[in-house]
């Protein structure tokens, strides 16, 4: 039987699907109960000594168990919000309350005729309400339970647990009033401690309700662990009624006692499974927590290692480069005026390569820094920041003529340091790739797309072919040779990472010889 239980709900008894082993256990318990029932049935009418203490002891055990079960089920209802769970919890609350009333009205127990204005029929009728009522709750539970095992989806209107509990208690009170004050209107089912013929019809219908509840539980698939054990409980309930109200002759015979033992088993069944399952789930939670903890400490260790690595790269890899560059320079100085030109050329090559590797290392370090640095977003005046960067670029190359246009009043919520890195790269690229234009133009502006600010940096430079742009934002991927335009191929990767850290997005638009435009957003669209 395939069933899809959402992973987040799978940890609850009401949503856990049954395992084959549990099914075997449940069937075994039902079989043993049935066997005991068959053995006890012929002797159901055998009169046994009247042990008055048996009734209060038995019923207080019942009340305690049912109340705890109800509390646990209300607890699961609170978490899962499933209406069927609320109904079942009310069912248990119902049995607990009505058992109290039943004990109080039992004739000869607390008062000769029973408390609460009870008559000779009151207790027996309360028993019928009790044993007919609970199966109704179980039927409602099975009916409300969703088909596919997904609980929240099917529950349109949530129930209020307190209101339901109050209604349940009110219902019990109503039954108590009917059974005590309205006893004259009800047909007589007891004569002394023995049953009247009317009894069989009424108890038959009560028994039938229990049977229907078992069938309903069976039909409403898939079965959760709770369904399975509730089924076992209802079977015990069937034996209880059969022994203590159908096959026996009256109070204090073998059927009366044996049926009540079944009743106690029934009351404890769900509670026991709930507690066992809770224990198991708790153990699993502790285990999961531990493995989570282990994973996070592993992650921290890996991060630390990574940091140490990048530190080592920044520090230790630069030293040999410095030596290569410096001593090449020393050699160059020592080359006399008569030296071969190729000697100078080779030494220059060595120095250029060393310096380029130095630049690569610096860029890589900056890239990793952008990933590691904490994000501190604030309102940033992007117009001013962009103009400052463009002014710096112009200062560095005063001979160039570039028309720059930056939109007025551009404000963005971003980390100012990371935003500066992004703008320096995008504007720097625009500056660099328009270097062959006589009339270079760089534009920065904003478009609103579905309420999101999408900024753009546009230039009229050399552009590129979009077919090669697949890996534009991966480190070291370049679309131009170093001879054409110098660069390390890390700039756009850095830009991409800045955008990612702000949960934004970036895309490029370009055409060879017609410039490039980069659109980016620094928020989720």
């Amino acid at each position: 039987m395939a069933q899809e239980v959402p992973a987040e709900d799978a940890a609850f008894l009401a949503t856990l699907s049954t395992r084959p082993r549990e099914k075997k256990w449940a069937l075994g318990i039902i079989a043993i109960s049935a066997l005991c029932f068959i053995l006890a049935a012929p002797y159901a009418k055998l009169p046994l000594p009247k042990v008055w203490a048996f009734i209060p002891i038995y019923e207080s055990a019942l009340v305690t168990n049912d109340l705890i079960t109800a509390a646990l089920l209300f607890g699961q209802f609170k978490i899962l919000g499933s209406r069927s769970l609320c109904v079942l919890a009310c069912g248990y609350l119902f049995t607990a309350c009505i058992a109290v009333v039943h004990a109080l009205t039992f004739p000869g127990l607390f008062a000769p005729a029973g408390l609460l204005g009870a008559g000779p029929q009151t207790t027996a009728w309360l028993y019928m309400f009790w044993h007919g009522g609970f199966p109704l709750f179980v039927i409602a539970y099975a009916f409300l339970k969703s088909e596919n095992g997904s609980w929240r989806a099917s529950d349109k209107r949530p129930l209020n647990a307190a209101v339901c509990a109050a209604a349940t208690i009110l219902l019990v009170a109503l039954f108590a009033v009917v059974a005590s004050l309205g006893r004259e209107a009800l047909p007589a089912i007891m004569q002394g401690n023995h049953y009247t013929p009317v009894m069989s019809g009424i108890v038959g219908s009560v028994w039938l309700l229990s049977l229907i509840s078992v069938v309903m539980l069976y039909l409403r698939r898939p079965h959760s662990v709770l369904d399975l054990w509730l089924g076992v409980v209802m079977c015990a309930w069937l034996f209880d009624i059969a022994l203590s109200a159908v096959l026996n002759a009256g109070r204090f015979d073998l059927g009366f006692y044996a049926g009540r033992i079944y009743g106690l088993v029934a009351a404890s069944g769900v509670l026991l499974v709930l507690l066992l399952e809770n224990g198991r789930l708790y153990a699993r939670l502790a285990e999961a927590h531990q493995s989570e903890h282990r994973k996070s400490s592993e992650l921290a260790a890996v991060n630390k290692e990574l940091e140490a690595f990048s530190y080592s790269v920044s520090h230790d890899l630069r030293a040999p480069l410095r030596a290569i560059d410096g001593f090449s320079k020393a050699l160059l100085n020592r080359l006399g005026p008569h030296s071969d030109n190729s000697e100078r050329h080779y030494l220059d090559r060595i120095r250029t390569a060393a310096q380029r590797m130095g630049a690569l290392i610096d860029d890589l370090i900056n890239l990793s820094r952008i990933t590691r640095a904490p994000l501190r977003a604030e309102q940033v005046d992007m117009t001013k920041m962009s103009r400052d960067i463009l002014a710096e670029l112009a200062d560095a190359e005063p001979a160039r003529k570039v028309t720059c246009s930056v939109g007025e009043g551009l404000v963005v919520n971003a980390d100012p340091h990371l935003l500066a890195v992004l703008l320096r790269n995008l504007l720097g690229n625009a500056w660099k790739y328009t270097s062959r234009n006589a009339e270079a133009m760089i534009e920065l502006g904003v478009n609103r797309v579905d309420g999101t600010q999408v900024f753009y940096v546009k230039d009229n430079g050399v552009g590129f072919d979009m077919t090669h742009a697949k890996n534009l934002f991966t480190p070291f991927h370049r679309l131009h040779t170093d001879a054409e335009f110098p660069g390390t191929g890390i700039g756009l990767a850095t830009v991409h990472r800045v955008v990612c850290r702000h949960s934004g997005s970036i895309r490029a638009e370009a055409e060879p010889a017609r410039g490039a435009t980069f659109h980016f957003a620094l928020e989720k669209s």
Partner: protein, 147 residues
């Protein structure tokens, strides 16, 4: 020019030490450059102990060029020891290192380094940096009065 005052270079890497000496020479800094190979030797020199026991503690260098990453005793430990000692706590210490990590810079300034300079890969830049350091710390800057 206080040419009698020496520059103490604390550098574990031989190539870097030679480069620094070369850069200072190319920058026409005439002061003698004494090189010690690690933090321990730097402390021995400054506190006139071990193989430098013959020195006078109050014969202090004009400036210390201090590398950070060194075996045994790190640059920061050396800096702490200098600042903790009454006799030499005013000694100008320039951190001269490959690292430009925030935490290194912070550790340096937290322990009252006078200056923090990252060694450039490009030798020409290094010469320029050396010249500026020499001009500033040996000529322009007035040291604390001798006690």
């Amino acid at each position: 020019m206080r040419t009698e005052q020496i520059i103490l270079l604390v550098e574990d890497n031989d190539a870097d030490a030679e480069l620094t000496a070369m850069a200072f020479a190319d920058a026409h800094i005439g002061n003698a450059l004494v090189r010690v190979c690690d933090g321990q030797e730097a402390l021995d020199y400054l506190f006139a102990q071990g193989r430098y026991a013959h020195r006078q503690v109050d014969d202090i260098p004009a400036v210390v060029l201090l590398d950070l990453n060194m075996p045994r005793i790190s640059g920061i430990e050396v800096l702490k020891a200098i600042r903790a000692d009454e006799r030499i706590k005013h000694l100008p210490v320039i951190i001269l290192t490959s690292s430009n990590e925030d935490r290194d810079r912070l550790a340096a300034y937290d322990n009252y380094a006078n200056s923090y300079v990252q060694k450039p890969v490009d030798y020409d830049q290094f010469v320029i940096a050396s010249r500026q350091l020499g001009l500033y710390w040996l000529l322009l800057n007035e040291p604390p009065p001798r006690r």
